[in-house]
């Protein structure tokens, strides 16, 4: 049986290690040689511990699947239950915890080599990253709207520190913009949640859902829905609330951009999925599908058009993140088991691909290559880095046998199943635009002659985490069963949506 401790362990271990990280990394400043090795061993230990705690939870869950669709665990006893947090464990949250742990470990490996280790602030950076990982796993396990809100806002706000790590003036600016957006979003969400609490008298997912099904007058609920959906849409960068994303990601260090796109972005889609489908289930509670479908179409079109006109490669990839929101929304709007499977697969693949692209672009930015023009002939100068970026681009474009294809296939098919064929057609058309600008990037990298023919030494240590991701997208593209079998139980849990 899963106890409250099992759920808490991953979260607590992240937070605890984060606190320990500061003195330990500080202590390494005194070591002259093999400093990186010490830091590496420390974080290896951290992630092995986190992985063990997550694995412990997963094993316990799958050993004895609970009779209910999800298992809810309350922190305090009977009469205080109302003040305490509820945690909810189901196949989705376990899956999310696993992919968060995996991706963050690899991105961490990259950050260790990417950030100049002599810089004073690096221990703070690592410790904030660890706290965010803890919070985001906490958000995945949340069972009531307030717990979800607290964990999620903690990780979203915390990520602003990662953005301004290098203290560039433009990143200060962007972070301010991001923080303002987050604050507006959380105000919206709090307002919406207070209405929900007023209507139902509870914030527990399951209880809210039951209360809302019985609700006769839905006027107030619509207002609450608008605020909650708008709040989470701002955080997920759904068009028309997308402007902060490219601004925030472009000046941030590549390791932060990779971390944010792979964890915070995917986490925000996860929350959209959770709140929209599992709590405000259409059509039993509210029929929001058409509205979301329109937003999804807009997001895909705008995101891809922005990327099409973009000259700065890092910004281009940030714009692809916006387009990816659109593709994720297709699956959410379809409200089908296949759509949720597509979503979950997309979370992983989108995270891997954006992280890998940001990481590869980070190496190139270090060497002074920023725009498409600078990228001319990079393929000959830095073959491995550009090969990685090539795989990222083809995976984004949905070219098999890379994993991006399976993700897109699931998403488009779910739209057809959900009677939203027009959305699938728009998705397909925008993915042609996507192929076009990614191919233009490849054209620049491999087709154009470089300005100068010198070979540039590639940082091998940074390429290791990148190629772990490349291997992952190839393997998951050819044999997606590894992941699909893991998320298949979701389909069995879907029936609790009547």
């Amino acid at each position: 049986m899963i106890g409250i401790l099992d759920v808490f362990l991953p979260i607590i271990s992240c937070v605890l290690f984060s606190l320990l990280t500061i003195p330990i990394v500080k202590a390494t400043h005194k070591i002259k040689s093999k400093r990186n090795a010490v830091i590496l061993i420390w974080f290896l230990m951290v992630f092995i511990t986190v992985a063990i705690t997550v694995a412990n939870l997963a094993i316990k869950y799958y050993e004895q699947p609970p009779p209910q669709p999800f298992l809810s665990i309350t922190l305090a006893a009977e009469q205080f239950a109302i003040f305490s947090s509820v945690f909810m464990i189901d196949a989705i949250s376990i899956y999310m915890a696993i992919i968060f742990t995996f991706i963050s470990a690899i991105v961490f490996l990259y950050s260790i080599f990417y950030l100049d280790p002599d810089k004073r602030l690096s221990e703070r950076y690592y410790s904030i990253m660890l706290i965010i990982i803890g919070c985001i796993i906490g958000a995945a396990f949340s069972g009531d709207l307030l717990t979800l809100f607290i964990f999620w806002e903690a990780s979203a706000a915390g990520s602003s520190f990662l953005m301004l790590h290098q203290k560039k003036p433009e990143s200060m600016h962007a972070t301010l913009k991001y923080l303002v957006m987050i604050i507006i979003a959380s105000a919206f969400i709090v307002y919406g949640l207070s209405i929900v609490y007023g209507i139902t008298g509870t914030l527990n997912f399951w209880a809210v859902k039951q209360a809302l099904i019985a609700l006769a007058d839905k006027h107030l609920l619509i207002i609450a829905f608008v605020f909650i959906a708008a709040g989470y849409a701002i955080e997920a960068a759904v068009v028309p609330f997308h402007m902060w994303l490219p601004d925030a990601y472009t000046p941030a260090p590549a390791s932060s951009a990779a971390f944010l796109s792979a964890l915070i972005d995917q986490g925000s889609y996860y929350i959209l999925l959770r709140v929209l489908i599992y709590i405000l289930t259409p059509p039993t509670i509210l029929d929001w599908t058409l509205m979301l479908a329109v937003l999804s179409a807009l997001t895909m079109v705008v995101g891809n058009l922005l990327a099409l006109t973009e000259k700065n490669v890092k910004r281009l990839i940030a714009n692809i993140c916006i387009a990816d929101v659109g593709y994720n929304l297709i699956a959410i709007t379809s409200v089908t088991p296949l759509g949720i499977m597509g979503n979950l697969y997309f979370f992983l693949i989108g995270g891997l691909t954006t992280a890998l692209s940001f990481m590869a672009v980070g190496i190139l930015n270090r060497k002074g290559f920023e725009t498409l023009d600078d990228f001319s002939g990079i393929g000959r100068k830095m073959p491995f880095t550009s090969l990685a970026l090539l795989f990222g681009a083809f995976s984004f474009a949905g070219i098999p046998p890379l994993a991006g294809f399976i993700a897109k296939y699931l998403v488009f098919t779910s739209a057809i199943e959900g009677n939203l064929s027009w959305l699938a057609v728009i998705g397909v058309l925008t993915s042609i635009i996507q192929a076009a600008y990614l191919l233009r990037l490849i054209n620049y990298m491999f087709g154009k002659a470089p300005k100068e023919e010198t070979k540039i030494r590639e940082p091998k240590k940074l390429l290791i985490p990148i190629f772990i991701f490349v291997t992952a997208i190839i393997v998951l593209g050819i044999y997606p069963t590894i992941i699909l079998n893991l998320i298949e139980p979701v389909i069995q849990q879907f029936p609790f949506v009547p």
Binding site: A397, I399, P400, F405, Y409, I432, R440, N443, K448
Partner: protein, 493 residues
């Protein structure tokens, strides 16, 4: 053997790194390795011939492996008469392309990558023909795209990446519509196997099936370069290096035709066959076929660039093929159409290789500057003339037989459906046009007085590749029995 087809795909997949490493040492050895892989694949595939000819009632050889159970997909590979014929001719072309490349690509940079990409391409090309699972089909369909893109871009002429980009975007745009169709088939039938899906689609809503059919066919037609979605073809075919042009024209566009036959017509079409829409659809195919045949022939007649003439002739021939497909399900017509794909692949491959030999030796592309090359380059001239006459449909060369069979099918169709009277007549006129441009090509390039002093015969590897295909074109013309027997085992509906 039990895993013949899996081995056929695994062999090139696993040897890609070896080809690359060999290529780093010696390009020639890499080319020989690619050729050997193709020969080994042909040998593997030919072991399935008895199973097809005297096997079960369905004349199919099937292998199935565990793959993605969640999506009801198993890794199913199969061959029947049609797919085996297509796979064999594909491998023969890859073999000759690799041989031809030894001298043709001599002195170019990055040949290790070139041969590795060629091997990678062969996986996609063969895979498309030997799978019955739509997901693997789509995998291979797109796997044709990426290596081709890099081969055209990396070793092409003029502005190669521009042509490659156009090729990629056009065919990828087509492919995503195919993907939509595949997704819809999966949604309706819950199955991705073309034979299972066919039965399941029979009970589906006809209006839905209609859209699936249109979406799939439109997607395949882009690859097939049917007018008006042919725009990528002339650039891609003429800017690509000659061995790639041979593969593009011989196999890649044929894959589009094969896919229309196998997926659009074989799987989806039976569900709407008896409706009005069914006959309208077939008539539409015939109309677009005629359009392509005339458009391609006319432009080939006035074009002066040596490779563009052949490229436009490919559009024309895909027109004939589409016309042949519109006669579905007449047995003679279907046999003729598939046989035409095989014959056209051999003839067009030969045509492009010989044009490449001329371009390589003379370094000019305008046929008006050429003349009298027959004396200076006798073997290339023989090869080119054989190819041109076959393309024109002159007996005893290959394409004559298959065009003849298509027309036999057409005359049978006329007796059922008056509509085909006019298209058949127009198609007969189009074959005359093809004779015209073929003769114009031959007379401009090879006949008349010698204009170029320095012209020399092509080096040995190019000569042997051309000789091989010339022999094949003549053999297919005088003894088509083997392929006809194979193809005739497949019955639609």
């Amino acid at each position: 053997m039990q895993n013949t087809l899996l081995l056929t795909l695994l062999l090139p997949t696993l040897t890609v790194p070896f080809v690359y490493l060999t290529g780093k040492k010696s390009a020639k050895a890499a080319a020989v390795l690619v050729a050997l892989i193709a020969v080994a694949d042909i040998a593997l595939l030919s072991t399935t011939v008895p199973a097809i000819l005297d096997g079960t009632a369905e004349h199919r050889y099937v292998e199935s492996y565990y793959w993605i159970p969640v999506l009801h997909s198993s890794f199913t590979l199969f061959v029947d008469g049609i797919s085996l014929s297509m796979a064999i001719i594909t491998l023969i072309l890859i073999l000759t392309a690799a041989l031809f490349s030894i001298n043709y690509m001599q002195g170019r940079k990055g040949l290790a990558e070139y041969y590795a990409l060629l091997t990678l391409l062969s996986i996609g090309l063969v895979g498309v023909f030997i799978t019955s699972n739509l997901m693997i089909f789509y995998f291979c369909w797109e796997l044709m795209l990426v290596p081709t893109y890099f081969i055209i871009g990396g070793w092409g002429y003029k502005e190669p990446y521009r042509a490659a980009f156009k090729f990629f975007i056009f065919t990828h745009a087509g492919a995503v519509f195919v993907l939509l169709g595949i997704g819809a088939i999966f949604m309706i039938t819950g199955d991705l196997d073309i034979f299972q899906a066919q039965a399941a689609l029979m009970t589906a809503r006809p209006d839905l099936v209609k859209w699936i059919l249109l979406s799939l066919t439109a997607g395949f037609a882009v690859k097939m370069a049917i007018v008006p979605v042919h725009m990528w073809l002339p650039d891609a075919h003429s800017e690509a290096p000659a061995p790639m042009s041979a593969l593009l024209s011989g196999v890649i566009i044929s894959a589009g035709a094969y896919a229309i036959l196998r997926v659009s017509l074989g799987t989806v079409f039976p569900a709407v066959m008896s409706t009005d829409f069914g006959s309208q659809f077939l008539h539409g195919l015939a109309v677009f076929g005629i359009l392509s045949a005339f458009f391609g022939s006319f432009i080939a007649l006035v074009e002066n660039d040596i490779k563009r003439i052949i490229a436009y002739s490919s559009i024309a021939h895909m027109g004939y093929v589409l016309f042949g497909l519109s006669l579905f399900p007449h047995q003679e017509a279907m046999t003729g159409t598939v046989l035409h794909l095989v014959n056209h692949a051999a003839s067009k491959g030969l045509f492009f290789l010989s044009a490449g030999a001329i371009m390589k030796q003379l370094e000019i592309r305008d046929i008006r500057e050429m003349g009298g090359l027959a004396g200076q380059m006798p073997i290339t001239a023989t090869a080119s003339t054989t190819a041109a006459l076959s393309i024109a449909g002159i007996p005893p060369f290959a394409c004559f037989i298959s065009e003849f069979l298509i027309f036999v099918g057409a005359f049978q169709a006329i007796s059922n459906d008056n509509f085909y009277l006019l298209p058949t007549a127009l198609m007969l006129i189009a074959t005359v046009l093809s004779l015209a441009y073929a003769l114009r090509y031959v007379s401009h390039v090879f006949l008349g007085s010698a204009k170029l002093e320095k012209a020399k015969e092509a080096p040995s590897s190019m000569k042997s590749a051309m000789a091989l295909l010339t022999a094949l074109v003549i053999l297919l013309g005088v003894w088509p029995t083997f392929f006809i027997q194979l193809i005739n085992t497949v019955h639609f509906v």
